[in-house]
Amino acid sequence: MPIEPFIRRTAHIAALPAANIDTDMIMPKVFLKGVDRKGLDAGVFHDLRFDEQGSPLPEFVLNRAPWDKAEFLVAGPNFGCGSSREHAVWGLLQLGVRAIFAESFAGIFFDNCARNGLLAVELSADKIAHLTSLAEAGERISVDLENQNISASQGDITFQIDERRRHMLMNGLDAIGMTLQWREDIAAFQDAYLNTCPWLVPPMTGKTI
């Protein structure tokens, strides 16, 4: 999948001040029945965004101006916990979300973000509280991945992500393409590995790996 590079963006930020926002909540199961990645923006936070008739619930932050145009989210600890469903990340991107700031992320969700060019940044509780107040005040912020800096009217917030991840996000790089450059290393590793673990050959069904 082509990944849109993230360098610097300015937009509103919406606050979801809760712990353990799980991927069932981000992308309910009724949106998991397809075999492609299309139309998942409709599913994002569906049960919080819409009533039983499908009408937007006015009290939900992403249904209210200016946050209906938010490109950034700020949330509590353990964002994206639960199911491995990558549909949650695809849907958020399709809805226009480009970066999420949280006290912590669940591991699978964090990796899913990286693989799709969605910037996920872990920040201290103080910085999250600061961003949440900016979000609730309806401010626009600028997120600069090159300098790892968030600028807003009340001063800057710095952040730091893994250097390799930053490089891939800024250049929209595809992980598979990068790994395939090590094809010979993988083959050499596998030969040596299976030599030390001969009981793994044949691996599952009787054929040689």
């Binding site: 809760a18 353990n20 639960g82 990558e86 993988i186």
Partner: protein, 481 residues
């Protein structure tokens, strides 16, 4: 990450990662290219991975290192096999079958005699072996740690990466040791133990960590119990949970159809016995629990850590100091239709569900049947039991357990994930309350507006009989633990 000296004592987790590291990806080896031994694919998280391969014209490098199992979306109705066209009408099952045929991957579809929940099927075939790395598109892949294998869940992009390269870009985790000592009291199970751990350290307590479970309680535990413990480790954030393989693990594997036999087994055993944390290996965090202090657990909220012993009451959110926690508690209690101070044992249920990759193995069904034997489900409760695999189902039928369930008033179903995540027709209605042997009590997990209380299979059986949550120890049974 500091540079490790070759002879420095290592944890079991670090040994597994080291043995599968093709090459480091940064100067400090925080991220490595990790070789993956095997995977299991399901119909709902894999389709876009195959589409990605097709679009890029990439092959599956080792189709023989993958097994495909239909489990998440399928019907569990007893007569499902009579409709041979059902699978072709379902877009995900149909595309799954096409992908397996095109790429040469073995498929257990709805009509296969070994179909079941992926994390029940893989171990019962003997495909999960000590020392392996197994990644799969399901968060509960942590189950495989019971065998001293590193199992972890991945998203669809990483499934594609793994199929194309037999490797993953992997971020090394820190080490946490959870030591549990002593005998579990009568009526207290592996499920209660892991629920007590999650309640103690929180839903994100092991984020960024791999857990090693150790101690005399774990050593005395069956493989089924160990699988339950490792399975739910992801509910406290662990993306990997291991238990050092021992005689119990080797004995379990000895009669499994696809496990090594003969000469291969002798060589394997020698290696498997080395799979322990070295004496003096350092852990970044250690947690200790006394087994005798653990009671049968139930969740009262909408996160797996919102749980307590069945003898407790619903907590009062206003007593929580942390404002986020106070708000989460209020919201959870409101969603669950409960009130602070209410005894957990007074909560009336509408449904009882025994199933899932956490608790639908033969030992789980035996424990529930021991409670149900000679008793009947309360008239207002709809009760469902979905065996973890077709093999478990047959075994339970042979042992007479199936009859105990049906005579008590449970529906006896075919295998699949079913009401654990309710992607098929097994759904609870809004407002309905379900006692469930599953792993997640999130809002809407078992159906929009449905309310889930997690507990052990024996506790579900007891709740089904009484019509409300209750302490299984007050009911007794021939073999309640």
């Amino acid at each position: 990450m500091t540079v490790r000296v070759e002879s420095a004592p290592r944890t079991l987790y670090d040994k597994l990662v080291d043995a599968h590291t093709v090459r480091p990806l940064d100067d400090e080896a925080r991220e490595v290219l990790l070789y993956v031994d095997r995977t299991v694919l399901n119909e709902y998280t894999s389709p876009q991975a195959f589409t990605g391969l097709r679009e890029a014209g990439r092959p599956v490098v080792h189709p023989e290192a993958a097994l495909a199992v239909v489990d998440h979306v399928n019907s569990t109705e007893p007569g499902r096999a009579e409709d041979r066209n059902a699978a072709s009408r379902d877009i995900q099952m149909a595309y799954f079958a096409r992908n397996c045929a095109d790429y040469g991957i073995e498929l257990f579809d709805l009509f296969h005699s070994q179909q079941g929940i992926e994390h029940v099927v893989m171990p019962e075939l003997g495909l999960v072996l000590p020392g392996m790395v197994i990644a799969a598109g399901d968060s509960h892949t942590t189950t495989y740690g019971a065998f001293g294998a590193l199992g972890f869940g991945i998203g669809t992009s990483d499934i594609e990466h793994m199929l194309a390269t037999q490797t993953l870009v992997y971020r090394r985790l820190r080490n946490m040791k959870i030591e549990v000592t002593g005998d579990l009291p009568l009526g207290v199970t592996a499920k209660d133990l892991i629920m007590a751990v999650i309640s103690k350290i929180g839903a994100s307590g092991a984020n960024g960590f791999a857990i090693e479970f150790a101690g005399s309680t774990i050593e005395a535990m069956s493989m089924e119990g160990r699988m339950t413990v490792c399975n739910m480790a992801v509910e406290c954030g662990a993306r990997g949970a291991v238990i050092a393989p021992d005689e119990t693990a080797f004995a379990y594997l000895s009669d499994k159809p696809r496990a090594p036999k003969g000469v291969g087994l002798s060589a394997a055993l020698k290696h498997w016995m080395s799979l322990t944390s070295d004496p003096g290996a350092s852990f970044d965090k250690t947690v200790h629990l006394e087994a005798r202090e653990i009671a049968p657990m139930v969740t009262w909220g909408t996160s797996p850590d919102q749980a307590g012993p069945i003898t407790d009451t619903i907590p009062d959110p206003e007593k929580e100091v942390d404002p986020v926690r106070r708000r989460d508690y209020r919201r959870a209690i409101d969603y669950m239709g409960l009130a602070p101070g209410l005894p957990l044992a007074d909560i009336r249920i509408d449904r009882a569900f025994i199933g899932s990759c956490t608790n639908a193995r033969i030992e789980d069904l035996r424990a529930a049947a021991a409670i149900l034997n000679g008793r009947t489900v309360a008239p207002h409760v709809k009760a469902l039991v979905v065996p973890g695999s077709s093999e478990v189902r047959r075994q339970a039928e042979r042992e007479g357990i199936a009859r105990i369930f049906t005579e008590a008033g449970f529906e006896w179903r075919q295998s699949g994930c079913s009401m654990c995540l309710a992607m098929n027709d097994d759904v609870a209605a809004a407002g309905e309350r379900c006692a469930s042997s599953t792993n997640r009590n999130f809002e809407g997990r078992q159906g929009a507006g449905a309310r889930t209380h997690l507990m052990s299979p024996a506790m579900v059986a007891a709740a089904a009989v009484m019509g409300h949550l209750c302490d299984v120890r007050t009911l007794g049974g021939e073999d309640a633990d």
